[in-house]
């Protein structure tokens, strides 16, 4: 058996987390550099994975399989398809920027004692999250996936509750109470989802007798394992609920604005751009593969919920007074698009959804991080506290605008490609749904431009008059992201080619064909 590449990719950040946590309190900067180094090394490994992966090869590649818990047939099984590779690459790509952006977020305000080391903890936790996310993208054993899907919550909980945003939200003074509320809310929501999923996982074991995704999927395919309709639907709902909470889908979304609002900008990016992707990814990989029939059965409801998320999220984004909460609601709207694409059950829709996960990660990261820089300068999250920033900090304003344009998916930037694919894919099967979803793009323009106008344009507010422009470190964070947005917007081919075969497999899992265009249908 060859070198366990996937294990290494997941293990490296874990090692990094331990190493970073072990750095003595005094050597704070050393810890930062160590974390950055490990994240970059992980990125390198992810690149290797992407190179070693052959899109036209068999479905799961670089597989590893070891017996783990024999009594329950739990195996340590890893393997990636195109979608997994793309998302692993995204994760590994974003973490260095997150670390770099959060460079000073965890500096202790006053050194309480020599043994008090928040900085080490902060970066160690981030790396831990990365490790867990990556392995859950790799796991092809349901139980293994479940464990890390849940374990992710622990470091996230501490990241949200322990390292809050020092900027006041205006909503009320005691930020720490707000923060712990947000953290607990996050934890509870996801735990409830996770427990329901656990029940479903056990149920799956009872029905199928093992946890291996591939075996079960094959058994489903060749009919050797047939579930009773109701059993399948119940199991599907169990899985889907957990993923819908993670994603998040309306009406299970309310934890996201609190979490993103209270956490520091980099952590917020970690939540929405990395961790939440596990939810949508899992819908694509587990729900559709394991329960094709139930997925088709549930499609109408899910489509409606996704539509509600799109419009509702956008409308609430318009109504927000807090920059970060606004971005959070925008993300809810975008997740609506992703889920729409997944369950439209067309290859355009699903490729679009996968592409959307990647692009949304990058664009939200760009927008949110710049917003974080802005907030850290003024010390306030309220839109009303800004104005005329464009005059004093043109570069900041420019990058902010580009991030915003990406969010409203302007053609030429990456998100447009994915959003249009999702829309076309949906429209091809459900025209009405597609048209309603299209309203989302107008609303997106509304909240983005309103945000930009209120913060960046107009007469310069005295509080922002002395605001410095982006520093080199911050530019180093934003510039690559923006470049990536443009490149993927103009030439998304590499990603699409990575994704297409996997999507083809999924389509065959659910036994769906793309609807034919009328002209060909006529012939």
């Amino acid at each position: 058996m060859s070198f366990p590449l996937l294990t290494a990719t997941a293990a490296l950040p874990a090692v990094g987390a331990i190493a970073t946590a072990a750095v003595p309190a005094a050597r704070r900067t050393a810890a930062k550099w160590l974390a950055l180094f490990f994240s970059l090394a992980t990125l390198a490994l992810a690149v290797v994975v992407a190179v070693r992966f052959d899109p036209d090869g068999d479905r799961y590649q670089l597989t590893e399989s070891r017996a783990w818990i024999k009594d329950f047939g739990v195996r340590y099984e890893l393997g990636v398809d195109g979608i997994g590779v793309a998302l692993i690459a995204l994760t590994a790509l974003l973490i260095p920027f997150i670390i770099l952006a959060g460079w000073h977020d965890a500096d202790p305000l006053e050194t309480k004692s020599s043994r008090w080391r928040p900085t080490q903890g902060f970066f160690a936790l981030i790396l831990a999250v990365e490790a867990m996310v990556i392995i859950s993208f790799e796991a092809t054993d349901v139980f293994l996936f479940y464990i890390f899907f849940e374990a992710m919550l622990i470091p996230m909980y501490f990241l949200i509750g322990g390292f809050g945003d020092r900027a006041h939200s205006g909503s009320d003074e005691n930020a720490s109470a707000q923060r712990s509320y947000a953290a607990v809310k996050f934890l509870l929501y996801n735990l409830v989802g996770g427990l329901i999923m656990l029940a479903a996982v056990i149920g799956l074991y009872v029905v199928a007798g093992n946890f291996s995704l591939q075996e079960i999927a094959e058994a489903r395919a060749n009919g050797s394992l047939d579930m009773a309709t109701n059993t399948e639907r119940l199991l599907f709902l169990g899985f889907f609920f957990a993923f819908a909470v993670k994603a998040p889908l309306w009406p299970l979304h309310t934890w996201l604005p609190n979490a993103m609002g209270e956490a520091t900008a980099p952590v917020a990016v970690l939540i929405t751009a990395v961790v939440d992707k596990v939810g949508t990814f899992a819908m694509l990989r587990f729900c559709l593969q394991l329960f094709p029939e139930a997925s088709k059965w549930a499609t109408p409801v899910i489509l409606v919920l996704a539509l509600v998320s799109i419009v509702y999220g956008a409308l609430l984004a318009v109504g927000q007074r807090d920059i970060k909460r606004l971005v959070a609601y925008a993300s809810i709207s975008h997740f609506g698009f992703i889920i729409l694409g997944i369950f439209a059950m067309t290859s355009q829709g699903q490729s679009g959804a996968t592409l959307y996960m990647v692009n949304h990660g990058i664009s939200t990261a760009a927008l949110m991080l710049v917003a974080g820089f802005l907030i850290s300068r003024r010390g306030s999250r309220l839109i009303a506290d800004y104005g005329g920033v464009q005059k004093v900090a043109p570069v900041l304003a420019g990058t902010f605008l580009i991030g915003g344009l990406a969010t409203l998916s302007l053609p030429g930037l990456a998100p447009f490609v994915s959003e249009f694919l999702v829309l076309v894919g949906t429209f091809a099967r459900y025209p009405a749904v597609g048209i309603i979803a299209t309203f989302g793009i107008v609303l997106a323009a509304l909240y983005t431009l309103v945000l930009y106008q209120r913060t960046m344009t107009g007469p310069v507010k005295p509080e922002v008059a002395s605001m410095p422009d982006l520093k080199v470190r911050e530019l180093a964070v934003v510039a690559p992201l923006i470049a990536l947005l443009i490149v993927l917007g103009v030439y998304p081919k590499p990603v699409t080619e990575l994704v297409n075969p996997a999507v083809k497999h999924t389509m065959s899992d659910v036994q769906k064909k793309d609807p034919k265009p009328d002209v060909e249908a006529a012939k």
């Binding site: 929501y189 979304h253 109504g319 420019g398 490609v417 694919l421 793009i441 107008v442 431009l449």
Partner: protein
């Protein structure tokens, strides 16, 4: 080398300029504007090369294609980055890059005192690139990219003076209204995809015969929606007036000559679809006719020179849309009027800009007057543009507009009559408001006073860099029309793309021309009676109900405000409330109830042995009861 490989350069040159100027930083401030202008000129030159090369070929094989790379390859979905250069697009290319270059030149002088001039030129280049991409794309999706690209450029340029809240708001408004139109375009593209399985021009336009008329109508209406957004046609016209917040060169280039005509291009380009869908065509003509009058009426009431011109733009584009709606009869004339309008309207705007430049950026025409002595060049060029637009015999506007009116009558039937007479009426009103502008600005006695700081404007002629473009454009507006229509050159040139056919006009060309002349004279006389003969009050009189409505853009903004803005605000606010109380409240409520219950249970554990004993004893009792019941049963 092979000429079609040049096509990409048309787009690349200004794009490069935009990238360099926007990323270049301050060190480029001193040369930036020259770089921008040069690159615009480059693409104009390339356009000329391609044009001459095209002239050398036969009518049929003039269309060139360049396939760069496959953009979005997904199962059953092919989107390529590929260009198509045919007679139609080359016409646009020349117009855009030509007028664009002139306006770059003009801006060098106009923006001289602005410290952000480099960025201004960057935006201008960005606009050129997007606009060229729009007209060069060989599929609707790439066109969509250009379509939104010009939207972005106009957003940036309208809001160029961002410190003015009015400018920022206007920019946002323009983008949002355009977004509505873009929605139409994207839905149209989806429809094409589901109908034809592709959205490249050629296969779609060839396959129109194979699908139902209903589908075509749907697609057509969606395209019309897009055109309305971009070309400021009713009901999406509200943004154009505010867009005048941008610097005048922007108004000249984007909001008069090029971008706003993109809608016309879209409709003419998709002619096959509209030919297959009469209902959609009817809708187009109706929109055109309504906007024609709407814009003209608004133009009559405005005292702000740029807004007056904006109204006129609206109405002129109404003419073009009307013509485009007439189908093969009108396509050619739509494009022709588009080109000539590009010349004279750009010229007029530049003239207005020159006037403002000399008058401390005063825009109220009632504070002008008698400027012809102070700025002769501006006066002459502006005057020529004026004659052209009202359709003075022999000048560009005469030929193109006259043809459109003919074609309108040629549509035949009552529709023909209605449309024709509307067009005629429009011509009269055009004559009226343009004469009004002319008189208010250049004739009569001077009406300007010192402003608050007491420094009276001392009008002066603008620098060469501004006058030269104006002169060139004046030439265009004088001769273009004649040049095109001598021997129907233009018609034959476009025929392979738009397939012209002469309708059967109930009226002879001479009659129509005569009628046009008559209404022209009427309009001019009315204006002279009102503004030429007696002195003009500096403060506008209250005016009739119509006038007051027209000053407020016929209440469209008020409607939008009340219905959309207010309603939207209420909706969002209530939704925020609902999200916080209802959706969130349900969850928090359950949590709270569980907590309360556990608290109450906790009270039972009071630690008194006796109360534990009670429960124990009670339990025993219950057990006995249970056993007894069991035995009883």
């Amino acid at each position: 080398m092979d000429t079609e490989n040049l096509i990409a350069l048309l787009v690349a040159a200004p794009l490069l300029g935009a990238a360099v100027l926007l990323c270049g930083g301050r060190r480029l401030d001193r040369v930036g504007h020259w770089i921008g202008t040069a690159l615009a000129a480059v693409s104009f030159v390339i356009g000329l090369v391609l044009f001459t090369d095209m002239l050398g070929k036969g009518a049929e094989d003039r269309s060139l294609h360049q396939h760069l790379f496959s953009w979005i390859p997904v199962e059953g979905f092919q989107a390529d980055v590929a260009f198509q250069l045919d007679q139609l697009s080359v016409t646009f290319v020349l117009l855009i890059s030509g007028v664009g270059t002139l306006i770059h030149l003009y801006s060098i002088g106009y923006m001289e005192h602005d410290e952000r001039r480099r960025r201004f030129f960057g935006y201008l280049n960005l606009f050129l690139a997007a606009m060229l991409l729009l007209v060069l794309a060989d599929n609707y999706l790439l066109l969509y990219v250009g379509w939104e690209g010009v939207g972005l450029a106009s957003y940036l340029l309208i809001g160029f003076w961002q410190h003015k809240p009015s400018a920022a708001t206007a920019a946002k408004k323009a983008f949002l209204v355009n977004r509505v139109g873009d929605m139409g375009l994207s839905i149209a593209i989806m429809l094409m995809f589901t109908t034809f399985g592709t959205f490249a021009f050629e296969p779609v336009l060839e396959a129109t015969g194979e699908t139902s008329e209903g589908k075509l109508t749907a697609i057509g209406l969606m395209l019309l929606l897009a055109a309305c957004g971009k070309s400021a046609q009713v009901p999406l016209q509200s943004w154009l007036g505010d867009a005048m917040e941008g610097p005048t060169p922007v108004s000249a280039l984007i909001h008069a000559a090029t971008m706003v005509t993109a809608g016309v291009y879209l409709i003419v380009r998709s002619g096959e679809i509209f030919n297959g869908a009469p209902d959609a065509q009817l809708a187009v003509t109706v929109v055109g006719a309504v906007t024609l009058l709407f814009g003209a009426i608004v133009g009559c009431a405005k005292d702000d020179i740029k807004k007056a011109l904006a109204g006129s733009t609206m109405s002129q584009i109404g003419y073009m849309i009307l013509a485009a709606g007439l189908g093969p009869i009108g396509y050619v004339f739509a494009i022709m009027h588009l080109v000539t309008h590009g010349f004279f309207k750009a010229g007029l705007f530049l003239g207005a800009g020159s006037v403002m430049h000399g008058m401390n950026d005063e825009v109220d025409m009632r504070k002008y007057g008698g400027l012809r002595k102070y700025m002769p060049v501006t006066f002459v060029t502006f005057g020529l543009g004026y004659l052209a637009i009202i359709g003075f015999p022999g000048l560009s506007g005469f030929f193109s507009k006259d043809k459109i009116i003919e074609a309108a009558f040629a549509k035949g039937g009552t529709e023909g009559w209605i449309l024709g007479s509307v067009a005629l009426l429009g011509a009269a009103i055009t004559a009226y408001y343009m004469t009004r502008v002319m008189l208010l600005t250049f004739f009569g006695e001077k009406r300007w006073q010192p402003d608050a700081e007491g420094n009276a404007p001392h009008p002066h002629e603008s620098p060469k860099s501004m006058t030269i473009p104006m002169i060139l454009l004046a030439f265009g507006s004088v001769f273009a029309g004649g040049f095109f229509s001598v021997g129907d050159r233009f018609m034959h040139w476009l025929e392979p793309v738009t397939h012209h056919d002469h309708g059967d006009s109930p009226l002879s060309a001479a009659t129509v021309t005569g009628a046009t002349m008559v209404v022209l004279v009427i309009g001019v006389t009315l204006a002279w009676l009102q503004y030429g003969r007696r002195p003009v009050p500096v403060v506008a009189p209250r005016g009739s109900l119509l006038t007051r409505a027209a000053r407020r853009d016929l209440l469209q903004d008020d409607f939008n405000h009340v219905v959309l803005v207010r309603g939207g605000e209420h909706l969002t606010r209530s939704l925020v409330y609902v999200d916080h109380t209802l959706v969130d409240g349900v969850v928090n409520g359950t949590a709270a109830s569980v907590g309360g219950l556990s608290g109450r249970l906790r009270k039972l554990q009071n630690g008194y042995a006796r109360s534990y004993a009670v429960s124990m004893f009670g339990g025993a009792a219950v057990l006995i009861a249970a056993t007894l019941l069991m035995r009883a049963v």
